[in-house]
Symmetry: D2
C-alpha cells in the first residue's frame, strides 16, 4: 500500500483524490494540504477517511509514512515544492507545466539527480493516458502505419479562460499548447528539431490586451525528417475538440472526439449526432485516473514514469521555441533554446 | 447513509459491490452473504471494509441496521429471497428475471402489496440506465421524433453460453431477449399488444439439443398501433452488438455500438475502426453503476424505481408470449398470457 | 449496336432514355411511343436524335430494326405489352411489377417459353444494380460474413403517394415492399419459405380510407433456416431511408444511406451531417443507368439478365403472401400462394 | 448551342469530351486537335460525331463556327495556346496551371485585357466544382461557421508520379499543392498574406534525386488574420485522401473522403469500411463534368467564370512563395512574389 499526500485541494487535486479512492486500490490518501481549503472539501476528505487535513504542506513532507506526493498547487509552486518533496525522499507527481522557466526545471532535474534515493517523478501529461491517444501511439509502435511521415493535432478548448488568467498563464504555448507539443513527441516517438508558429487574436480582444494570442498554428520538422502541424484555438463553440492523426508509409491513424452517447437523430433539419464532451474534466476523466494508477504502479513495480522530468523540460522548450518563432517571425530550432 | 446487504457474491454481486464503493457515496455495504463464497472474494470484501461476510443470507435479513438488499443469487432464488426480504422490511434490488414463472412473480407482487412498509423494489434491467438507450428514450419523451411508429432493436451476444447453462436458462426469450423486450417498452413508452416470433438453431447444434434456439426475430404490435422488430443472436464474432432505433412522424433516433476508442486506421486493406466492447460487463459497466445509484436514490428520496415489479412481470409475459408464438407458429396476444 | 424502342415516355421512360444516351454506347434509342406524350418531351427526344416519336407502340413492335423494348407504361399494361413484344421477337426490359396477378405473370412466362427466339427478359429491380446493395451481395457471395443467419432491410419513402395513387397501387406490399422482398432474395441468395406481416395506418388516414396501410414490418424464414425482418414506411421526414444488413457466422455487413456530400457541420446546436438523398430518382440514379447497361450487355453477350421473369414472379408471390399474412393474422408459407 | 474545340486529346481532353457529350446539352464538340492522337481515340471521336479531327490546333482557332476552346495540351503550351485562342476571339478553358512563370501568365492576362471581345477565360481548378468542397464553401458563405479563424486541407495522392514526370513538373508546389492553395482561397473567401513551408523527401528517394520533395506542410496567414495549415503527400497507400476543414467563431465544417459505397463490414478482425476512391479521375469525375458545364453556362449567360485568370495567377504566386519559403527557410509574404 502506497501512502499518498496531496498538496493543493483545488479542482485537479480533488480529481486525483477521487481517482485514488475509486480506482487505485494499491494507494491510500493519508494527508491533504491546502492553505485555502474550502470547508466542504475538508468535510468531504474527512468523510472519505483522509487522516490528516492541513493548511501546511510541510506536514506532508515531514510525515515518514508518506511515500508519494501529488503537487496540485499553482504553477509557480510546482518547482519549489518538487524540490522540497524530492529532498524529503518522496516520489512526486507534479501537475504540468513543471515551471515556465527552463532554469527552474533544471533545478528540479538537478535535485532528482542529487537524490540518494531513486525518486519517481511524473509530470501530469494526462493525455498520454487517454484511450484514443494511446490507441494511436500503440498503432504507431506496432508498425501499423509504417514509417511516420506526418503528424497532425487539432486542439480547441470550448471556451477561453478569463483575461486575468491569461495574463498569468505564461501564454497560450506554455499554458495550452504544451499538451499538444508533448503529444507530438508521444504520438510520433520522435523529437522535434524545428518549429514555426503563427498566432492570432481572433476569439476575444481582451486576450490580445493581456498580451496573448488565442488561435495558433505550429508547423514542425522532426529529427526523423517527418513533418507536423498543430492547430489550436481557445474557443470552439461545439465543445472540446481534440483530434490527432499520424500518417505514414503504410497507412494513417486518426482519432475523433468522444461524445456523451452514440446516438444519431435524423430529422427534417439534418442528421444530428452528439457534440464532443464539453471540456477536459469530462473528456479526460479516464486519463486522469489512469495517470495516477500508472504513477502508483511505477512506485510499486519500480518502473520509469511515462512522462518524467525530461518530458516536462522538453515540452517547455518547445513552447518557448513556438513563442520565439511567432514573435521573431522565423523558424526556430529547438537547440537554440537553452 | 443507506446500509446495504448483498446476497450472492458471484460476478454480478461483485459488480454491484464495486459500484457502491466507488460511485454511490450515500450507501455502504454492511454485509455480503454467499454459501459458496470464494476465499479471495471474502478477502477483498474484508479489505474493503465489509463488516459481515457470511454464508447465510438470513444474517442480512435479520440485521435491523440493513435498509436494502441486492439479490444476486441464482434465478430460482430470486422470488423466494425477494419475498423473504420484503417481509423483513428491506428495500430490494433483484437481478432479472424475477422468475421464469408468472405465478411466482405474482407472489412477489402480492408480498409487496401486503407489506405494511412501502418497499422500493427494483428489477435489474440495467439497460434502462445505459447512456445510449437513455438518450433514445429522452429524445422520444421530448417529442424529437414525434409520434412513435416503429421500434427496432438488434441484440447479439459475442459468444453463446455453454449448453449446460442453456439447459437451465429458461430459453433464449426468458434469458436473453427479456432485456430487449423490456427495452421495447422502455424506448417506446408503450405496451406490447401482440408478438410473433421465429427462432432458429444456427449457431451451435448443442443449443438445439438442449431444446433451445440461438437466433430469433420478434415482430410486435404495440397498443398505440406502432410496430416493432427485434432480432437476437447468441453469437456475433465481432463483439456485443447492441443497437436500438425509434422511428416516428418527425424523425428517427438510432444508437450505435460503443468501442474502446474512437480511432480509425486507414491502410491498403481498408478503413478499420474498433470493434464494439466485447460483452455486457464492458458495455454496460456504466449502466450497472447507474442502476444501483438510482436504486439508492429512490430510497433516499422516496421515489419510484424505474423498473419495478410490474416491469419484471410484463417482461416475463412478453418472453413467454414469444416462446408460445414460436412453438405454436402463430401470433400471440399478450393478454392470452396469464 | 442495339436498337431500342421505349414504350412510355413518363418519368421513368425518360430516365432510361437518358441512361442510354449518356452511358450505354452500345445502344441507341430509335423510337419512343406514348399516346399522351408531352410536347416538350417530344421536342427533347427529337433534339436527341430519336428517329421515330409516336403515339402507337405498335410502330415500335413492328419495326424490324428494333432489337429491344423498354416497357415503361402503367402497371396494368406491363404484362400485355410484354407478351406482344415477346411475340414480336423483341428483347424486353419491363418495369416492376410485371403484374399484380400471378396468372398474368405466368402468361408472360409462357410466352417466353413459347418463343422460338431466346428472348432476354429483365424486370426493373433497379436496386440489384445499386452500389451499396451490390457491395453487400458481393461480400455475402465472397463468404466474408460466413453462413447467412439474419437479414434486415429498412425501407422508408420520404413522402407518401397520393391517396388516388394508393387506391390503384395494389397496396404497399405489391407497390413498395416488392423491391425489399426482392432485395431479401438478392442479398441472401436464398429463397423465402414463410412470412408474417404486420401493417398499420399511421402516416395518413387517407391511405387507410383507400384500403391500405402505410407502415409495415415483415418477418420471414428462409429455406436455409436464416431469419429476416423488413420494415417499411411511406413517410420518413428526413428523406429516403434505404438500409440493408446481412449477418452471418463470420460477421455482418451493413449499408447506410447516401447523401449529397460528405461534410459535417459542428455548431453549438450539434454535429450535423447531410440528410439522405431525397427519393429514388436521386438515390438510385446510378442504379437505373447500371440496370439498362446490364440489360444491353445481356443482349450483346448473350448472358442471362440478373432479374428475369422468375424474380418478377416470386417477388409478387412474396408480396401477396405478406398481404395475406397481415389480413389473416397468421404466418403464410410461400408455397400456399399459387 | 456553343461549338467547342478541344486542343489535346490525352486523358483529360477525353474526360472533357465525355462531359460535354453526356452532360452539357448546350454544347457540342465540333473539333479535336492533337498532333499525337491515338487511332482508337480518333475512332471514338469520329463515332461520337466530332466533325473535325486534326493534328493541327490552328484548324480549330481558324474555324469561325467554334465559340470556345478547351486547352488540354502539355503545361508549357497552356500560355501560348491561350494567347492565340484569345486573339482568335475564342472563349478559353485552360487546364491548370496556366504556366509555371508569372511573366507568361501576365502575358495571357494582358491578351485578355487587350481583346476587343469580352473573352470568358476559365482555369481548370476542378475542385471548386466538387460536391464536398462546394458544400464547405456554401456553409462558410452562408455564415454557418461565423467568422473564419482556421482552415485546414489534407491532400494526399495514392501513388507518386514517375521521377521523369517529377523532373519536369515544376515541383510539388506548382504541380500538386497548387490545387490546395487555390482551395485555401476558395474555401476561406480570403487572400493569403504569408506562407511558411516545410518539405521532406520521405516517399521515394528518386523524387529527391529529381530535385523535389514529396511530403510538405504549409502554414499560412490570411489577410483577415485567419490562419491555415495544408499538408500534402505524394503517396497514401489507402487511396486519394482529400479532406478540408474550415473553423470559425460559430462552428466548424469538415469534409471526409468519398468511397465507392457506404457499406461497413464487421468481423472478428475489426469494423471495416471502404477506402477512398482511388485517384482524381474517380474522385473528381463529377467535378470535371460540373466545371465544363459551368464554363459553358458562363458563355451562354454571360457571367464570370468561378476561376479566372486571376485565380490562375495567384495560385502560381502562392506555389512560388511556398517553394521560396522552403528553400530559404523563412516566412515569405505573397507580395514579395512578382
Amino acid at each position: 500500500m502506497i501512502n499518498v499526500g496531496i498538496i493543493g485541494a483545488g479542482r485537479i487535486g480533488q480529481v486525483h483524490m477521487k481517482s485514488i479512492m475509486t480506482g487505485v486500490p494499491q494507494a491510500k490518501v493519508l494527508a491533504v494540504a491546502d492553505p485555502y481549503m474550502k470547508p466542504e472539501v475538508a468535510a468531504w476528505l474527512e468523510n472519505a477517511g483522509v487522516e490528516k487535513i492541513t493548511k501546511d504542506y510541510r506536514e506532508i513532507l515531514d510525515d515518514p509514512r508518506i511515500d508519494a506526493v501529488l503537487i496540485c498547487a499553482s504553477t509557480d509552486q510546482h518547482a519549489p515544492l518538487s524540490i522540497e518533496a524530492i529532498r524529503a525522499g518522496k516520489h512526486v507527481f507534479c501537475e504540468k507545466p513543471v515551471d515556465h522557466s527552463l532554469e527552474r526545471i533544471e533545478e528540479v532535474k538537478a535535485a532528482l539527480e542529487a537524490s540518494p534515493k531513486k525518486i519517481k517523478y511524473q509530470v501530469g501529461f494526462n493525455r498520454r493516458f487517454d484511450h484514443n491517444y494511446r490507441a494511436i501511439r500503440k498503432a504507431v509502435e506496432d508498425g501499423k502505419i509504417g514509417k511516420v511521415e506526418f503528424i497532425r493535432i487539432s486542439s480547441r478548448d470550448p471556451e477561453p479562460p478569463s483575461p486575468a488568467y491569461v495574463a498569468v498563464s505564461g501564454g497560450i504555448f506554455l499554458d495550452m499548447m504544451i499538451h499538444d507539443l508533448d503529444m507530438l513527441r508521444y504520438l510520433s516517438g520522435d523529437e522535434v528539431e524545428e518549429v514555426t508558429a503563427y498566432g492570432a487574436n481572433l476569439v476575444d480582444p481582451e486576450i490580445g490586451k493581456a498580451g496573448d494570442v488565442d488561435t495558433v498554428v505550429i508547423s514542425a520538422k522532426l529529427k526523423s525528417g517527418a513533418l507536423a502541424a498543430i492547430d489550436g484555438c481557445r474557443k470552439a463553440v461545439y465543445g472540446y475538440d481534440q483530434r490527432g492523426e499520424v500518417f505514414g508509409s503504410k497507412g494513417c491513424i486518426t482519432s475523433s472526439n468522444d461524445a456523451a452517447n452514440n446516438t444519431v437523430l435524423s430529422t427534417a433539419d439534418g442528421i444530428i449526432s452528439e457534440k464532443p464532451l464539453w471540456f477536459f474534466l469530462e473528456r479526460y476523466m479516464g486519463a486522469y485516473q489512469e495517470e495516477i494508477r500508472s504513477f502508483i504502479d511505477c512506485i510499486v513495480n519500480d518502473t520509469e514514469p511515462e512522462a518524467g522530468i525530461e518530458a516536462g523540460l522538453i515540452s517547455v522548450k518547445l513552447a518557448i521555441a513556438c513563442k520565439k518563432s511567432m514573435d521573431e517571425h522565423r523558424a526556430v530550432r529547438i537547440d537554440e533554446i537553452k
